[in-house]
Structure formats: C-alpha cells, structure tokens
C-alpha cells in the first residue's frame, strides 16, 4: 500500500493505516527528538505527542509526495521538542560574540559517521545543541532560528560558533581516532 492510500485511510480513521504510518516513521522521529532532548523518555513522549498531533490533524494535510510527508512529520516533532524545551527552561541566550569564523570545518563532521555525530551532538549543552541542530542538521538560517527560539540573530550565531568550537574540542581531545581521521 502506498503512502497516499495510507493517508486517505488515516483520514477515514483507520487504525491499521495509522499503525503502518507509525511503523514507517517512528524510528526516525524518535532519533530526531533524541537529537534535541537528552532524556530518552522525554524524547519518546515528545515523539508520541507529535504522532498524536499528526493523526488528529491529518485531515488538513494534502499529500504531495513522500518527502513532503516526511518533512511535515519531522517539523511537528521538532516543534514539539522546542515547545517542551521552552516550557522546561526558556532560551535566555545573550549574544557574546558576532564572530562568524567557525573553527570546525564542515569536512571534519563530514568524515565522521552519523552515529558518531549523533553522540557528539547529544553531549552539547542545551542552547548549543538546539542551534546546531537547527542550523547544521535542519539547514535553517539564523533569522529563522532567531524567530523560532525568540532570540536575536547574533545570539544564534554566537551559539553556533560556541557549539562548533566545543565539538572541535571534543573531537580533537577525546578520541585520537577522530584526530587520525582528520590528519588523513
């Protein structure tokens, strides 16, 4: 059964179609939530909240392809995570530097395995992690991030700078394996 058919059946309230869609995206969405939240239980809860919203508002969704469906669900998940973070501890981030020099080159991250990047990301502090995820992983601009987190653009840039600096430190100091990869 293709996804369009699944969406149609979900709109009619079919539990089987809901289960199919859930199985398709649950793992990916859990990992997406996990990138934003350190706690696994919180991540799972937010993922369930996201799917609940998705299934209850599926009538408003018009199927335009698999990519559109995936990005819509992912957007719901990210919003859920950000809302949770905002409730728990609002982003009070001040701009400390407007330096745009990023010490960590993208190539270093490119050479790393996905799982290694994931492990590094979840070790970052909350503000750094959130901005890094939104900018580097989701590809949002600083303007978009600033609007989403209700912070200034300078703050977003500063957070990204610090996140990358910390990542570099972690990569170079903690594991020689990463260093050897970088040299090669």
């Amino acid at each position: 059964m293709n996804q369009e058919q699944l969406i149609k059946e979900c709109k009619q309230g079919s539990t089987a179609a809901q289960k199919c869609l859930y199985d398709l995206y649950a793992g990916q969405m859990f990992m997406t939530c996990r990138r934003y939240l350190k706690n696994e239980a919180d991540a799972e809860e937010r993922m369930l909240d996201g799917f609940y919203k998705f299934f209850t508002r599926i009538r408003d969704f018009h199927y335009q392809g698999e990519a559109a469906l995936f990005s819509w669900i992912k957007k719901i998940m990210i919003n859920e995570c950000l809302m949770f973070l905002r409730k728990k501890n609002p982003f009070v981030i001040t701009a400390e530097t407007d330096e745009l020099t990023i010490p960590v080159p993208e190539e270093v991250l490119g050479k790393l395995e996905a799982e290694e990047i994931f492990k590094l990301i979840i070790r970052l502090p909350l503000g750094y992690r959130t901005v890094f995820n939104l900018n580097v992983v989701e590809g949002m601009t600083h303007k978009e991030i600033a609007a989403l987190l209700k912070i200034s653009e300078g703050s977003s840039k500063s957070q990204l700078f610090k996140a990358k600096a910390l990542l570099q430190k972690m990569i170079y100091s903690e594991n020689e394996y990463y260093e050897s990869r970088k040299i090669n």
Partner: protein, 235 residues
C-alpha cells in the same frame, strides 16, 4: 530553509539513524493508540449527551405549550372582575364582594374554632395546596358578575364637589388707613378728642413705618461710663 551540500548530507545521515533496542516501538504504539481512542470517545461522548438533551428538550417543548394554553384560558375571566369593581365605586350600595375569610381570622370571635385549629396544628395533616386557594380567590362569582351591570351615564349620580374658596393674602390691611378699619358707627371726623386719640393710637400702633424708631439711639462715647462720671483716658 537553507540547505548546503554538507548540511544535507549530515541531516540525511542523521535522519537515517535507527533507534537502539532501548526504544520499545510496540509499547509506544500502544500508548499512542490509547490516546487516540480516548480522543475518539471524548468526541463521541458530548455528542451523545447533546443528542439526548435535545430529545428531552423537544419532548418538554411539545408538552409545555398545551399546559400554557390551559393557564391562559383559566386566567381569562379576570376581566369581568375589573368591571364589577368599577360599578361598585359608582354604587356604594352595591353588595361587597364575597371575601373568603379564612377561619383563622375569626379566631377572636370563635374560640372554639381556634381550639380546633390548634388541634389541627398538633396533628398536622396534608398541607393544602396554596395555588388552589389562589385560583379560587381569582375566580369570579357568577351571581356578582350578573349584578355588576354598569348603569347608563344619566343615572350615575354626580358627586358634589367641594368648592374651594380662594384664600386671599392681603398684607396691605396692616397698612390700611385707620378710618377704614374702625368699626362702623364711630365717627372719625370731628373734633372729638377721644376719637382722635384712638385714631392716633391706632395709627401709631399699627403702621409699620412708625414702629421703626426715627433715629437710632446715641451710642455711648468711648471712655464715658453709663452712670455719669466721665474721664479722659489719654489726657
């Protein structure tokens, strides 16, 4: 969304990650399904109640208008009572309406009844319906309605209205000439000293202008004692 080459790759690679064994997919699905079921029941529940309430209200609406119409027909004979009252004012001799006086009001004159009432109070029976009494008191007596015919206008005696005498406030009487006020038969003219004196007395006593002293009394000078001894303070 800005999507560079490296960004895309990092994002895609991270999205492709699968959760470890810590993530229990089946349990999570059960949890989600429970929530969705709750949502469904939450939607159905108010609809059921709303439908039931609407049905009850409809039945009530069907039944109540019939009762209301009966009430209106019962209240219609109130008009003749009003005409009867008008006619009674015109004819004071017309019999007074039969006022239903409860036995409790007659207890002063009927101590026996009062005793029975007290006995009744000791053994309370079923409480009478007050609405019934109200209905009885409002229903007009047919015999009274018959007698309450309005007579033609000619026969209605016009009540004698009290003529209100005008009150004249004439303050000029006090200033009038004494000759006018003197009793008749007394000659004011002539040289009778008695009459002249009386005239003068009357004139002096009544005339307001002469009641006022001609000049204010002389003020006592400073430094002058009232009993005759005088001395200058400065000199």
């Amino acid at each position: 969304m800005k999507a560079g080459k490296s960004t895309e790759t990092i994002g895609n690679r991270l999205d492709a990650l699968t959760p470890g064994p810590a993530f229990d997919n089946a349990a999570a699905w059960n949890n989600l399904q429970q929530r969705l079921e709750k949502k469904k029941t939450r939607i159905l529940f108010p609809w059921k109640w709303a439908a039931a309430a609407a049905a009850v209200l409809f039945v009530a609406w069907l039944l109540i208008p019939g009762k209301k119409a009966d009430n209106i027909t019962n209240q219609l004979p109130e008009k003749p009572v009003q005409t009867e009252m008008q006619s009674r004012t015109a004819h004071p001799a017309a019999p007074a309406p039969a006022v239903a006086i409860s036995p409790a009001t007659k207890t002063r004159h009927n101590p026996d009844k009062a005793a029975t009432i007290n006995k009744d109070a000791d053994n309370p029976g079923p409480i009478p319906d007050s609405t019934q009494n109200a209905l009885i008191s409002h229903t007009p007596d047919e015999s009274m309605v018959k007698t309450a015919t309005i007579p033609p206008e000619e026969t209605i005696p016009v009540p004698v209205t009290m003529k209100k005498l005008p009150v004249v406030y004439n303050n000029d009487l006090a200033r009038a000439e004494p000759e006018e006020l003197l009793p008749a038969g007394e000659e004011t003219t002539g040289t009778d000293p008695l009459s002249l004196l009386r005239k003068l007395k009357y004139h002096n006593s009544i005339k307001g202008d002469q009641l006022q002293p001609a000049e204010p009394p002389a003020r006592r000078k400073k430094g002058t004692l009232p009993f005759g001894i005088s001395f200058n303070t400065k000199e």
